[in-house]
Homo-oligomer: 440 residues x 2
């Protein structure tokens, strides 16, 4: 049996985890796979860092480009992150006939449509299970386990930092800014947390999940993306009073309008029922709910980040590719779950046409008639209410009004909000969240 | 590309679902797989039954043995259930060079160790995703997605009937017998519910999961198995008061004693923390928690039975095998997740050596000194208590005492219980449940 020879780009947190598995679990892997996987070389800019791991059998180098070209390497693991030079190294690996495994969601979301055809042309595989949901084998479930289904919806808690912050805000009744500071001190959030808290990381992952679910092309730039930075402790409390918990969800659904097909993709704070599985996903855990026309609801839960869980997913990908190495690669499921030639351009549903239920927090001057004025505008737009809470008077002049609406289109809701904020008794600053009752 | 020709044994509920997917999703399957899967023939004793499905392109027959031998069939789907004649047909299919997919957990649990080597010798695959967890792709997750991990524990709610009954008992405060009757009327429980409610079905599934997790042989007969039929509404209420919910769990863990390795396997009603993911799994849903040394906790949730979810898993298996057909089968993961020659005999840990925390319900005569007598026996056995609840006096002479213990071995606990029931103030009828705090 041919052994599979692996080269690693990046010996940071995840890279060290991958090296650790390949070295420490070598015998277990061979028993499962029937062949050996050998870590031949690893590149990192900092080779002096203490990694608590015996790398004496591994060629260590600061020359990543050398690994991409090396004759004694069959598969390159890219763990550098970001767009460049990661993209160039992956292209180089493919050009040199090497399979690729990566944990880089930004790379796949932005450059996947360049990389997948390149790999397919050369009979090579690209594995990226670790890019979405960390250690959770959710891509494999979607691509292979649920392959007999037309996918009806994907809901994901895909960013551990946001989920950690929201959990802590609820548990402690604290506001966003305070919890963010604490999360940064604990190392759960970056110094510049924008990518995480503004939903960009979730949008990267969602765009990959959506394309895999629907056989469409990855359209990261078209994901409607909102983050969690405007949510206050009072919103979490109000949601709870009404039976909901706020989670940052990535949501993807197919949308059919006669013969026209669209993909709906959005990332935003979302109210989910308190007794749903999704509501129980706390701290830095991730979860993905995938529903199909035959399987109904399924959910996948686990660690979305971290050295060991992410490395688990990277090595699972290496093992999949090794199982078909060197002759059976054509028999693996294609990376995006559909044969490359059958993947289609499917337009993204314009956000104005998306149908949602809404949570609206207005600040109003506490004068007679203001609620009547607001609700009559909603009625004009045929938006009906599920609940309305008027909170007690604040120290300031304005008081919050919280409304939960029944379903309407985003365009209609925004038109109504624009008229409502035109009222002189209503502040311009409105918080709009969305509600999903269909999560399991 | 070669198309894959399928023959179906059994056109009952699941068989009809499988036929439905293969016919209705033919185009979707071809886009995902790059080749066609064709339902060539189907056998059933009752060909007249209304199936609401156009089977005009399919050869219908009551001769299952003919399908097993037919020259125009590459893969046989066994959906007859039970041990025989299912086993003979599967053996026949393998002898005739056909791959096999089955949803039959009893068959795999009892005869898997005969069937897997036979398939391996002939370069054939046996798929059985549908046998455990219905539509949930949990076998694939364990076998492939988590393949880089040494598995540390498997916890599963694997029987929808039991979970439905326990959920209803809690929601309605009803006793077991009443809810069972209702479940039978609704078709959620069989007329003879023994296999489900006494844990046999869960034990079948657990024995398969354990062998796949640890690379050991399937030892269904050695699973310690207890069902839910002795649980009362009062137990569910007492558990809840103490912060737990009762679920019928299948539990498998590896156990190391020096150089000796054992597999711990048990099925019994189990107290899980109310705020765990596992506790939220209600009605007929199934869930499997799998923890590994790198991935930490993961959980898989979905429908554990039913025409459409189970058929989803059967067809996923067919697609996996079709992807490697006819030349790449050797590159699929082996059915039990370990190369057949590396699967080992690992002894089952004797139940007396299993360490648990316990829920004990005693009925005692309400006399002074009885609690002191009971707790002093526990102290003799070095069993310490986490909680003790004495319930209000019943109409009868005896009153229930509920105790939660800290960890001890089953052997030690049983010895103490035997002394306790020897007290003349304590009834012989004791209910012992177990508690698992480690579920996620």
């Amino acid at each position: 049996m041919n052994e599979m020879r692996v080269g690693l780009l990046g010996l940071g947190t995840i890279g060290t985890g991958v090296a650790r598995i390949l070295i420490e679990q070598q015998e277990l892997i061979a028993r499962r796979l029937g062949r050996k996987i050998v870590l031949v070389a690893a590149a990192d800019r900092d080779l002096q860092r203490e990694r608590d791991l015996d790398l004496s059998g591994v060629r260590l180098t600061d020359d990543a480009a050398g690994i991409v070209k090396a004759d004694d390497i069959d598969l390159v693991v890219e763990l550098i992150g970001g767009y460049e030079p990661a993209r160039s190294f992956v292209v180089g690996a493919l050009e040199n006939g090497k399979h690729v495994v990566t944990a880089n969601k930004a790379l796949i979301a932005k450059h996947g449509e360049e990389l997948f055809p390149m790999a397919a042309d050369k009979g090579l595989q690209i594995g990226f299970e670790a890019a979405v949901g960390g250690g959770i084998p959710c891509m494999k479930a979607l691509r292979e386990g649920l392959a007999a289904n037309a996918i009806e919806s994907v809901y994901g808690i895909l960013n551990g930092t946001c989920n950690f912050i929201l959990t802590k805000m609820e548990n402690e009744g604290s506001d966003y800014a305070d919890v963010l500071r604490e999360a940064q001190q604990l190392g759960y959030a970056e110094a510049d947390p924008t990518f995480d808290v503004e939903g960009v990381d979730t949008a990267h992952k969602l765009s990959i999940l959506a394309a895999m679910a629907f056989g469409s092309k990855i359209r990261f730039d078209e994901v409607h993306t909102e983050g969690i930075s405007r949510i206050g402790a009072a919103d979490i409390e109000s949601a709870r009073e009404m039976g909901y918990r706020i989670k940052l969800l990535g949501i993807a659904k197919p949308h059919f309008d006669g013969d026209d097909e669209y993909v709906e993709m959005r990332v935003h704070p979302t109210l989910v029922p308190l007794d749903s599985q999704m509501a129980q996903v706390s701290d830095s855990y991730n979860a993905v709910q995938i529903s199909g026309d035959f399987v109904e609801h399924t959910m996948y839960f686990g660690r979305g980040a971290g050295e060991r869980p992410t490395a688990s997913a990277v090595v699972a990908d290496i093992m999949d590719i090794a199982s078909g190495f060197p002759d059976g690669i054509a028999h693996l499921a294609p990376p995006m779950g559909f044969v490359e030639s059958s993947r289609r351009e499917v337009p993204t549903l314009p956000m104005a046409d998306v149908v949602c239920e809404y949570y609206i927090r207005l600040m109003v001057r506490d004068k007679p008639g203001v609620i009547a004025a607001v609700t009559s505008i909603l009625a004009d737009h045929r938006i009906s209410l599920e609940a309305l809470i008027q909170k007690e008077r604040h120290a300031s002049q304005s008081v919050p009004i919280i409304m939960l609406t029944h379903e309407t289109t985003e365009g209609n809701l925004q038109a109504a909000i624009s008229r409502i904020t035109g009222l002189e008794t209503v502040d311009k600053d409105v918080l709009i969240l969305r509600k999903e009752s269909a999560v399991a």
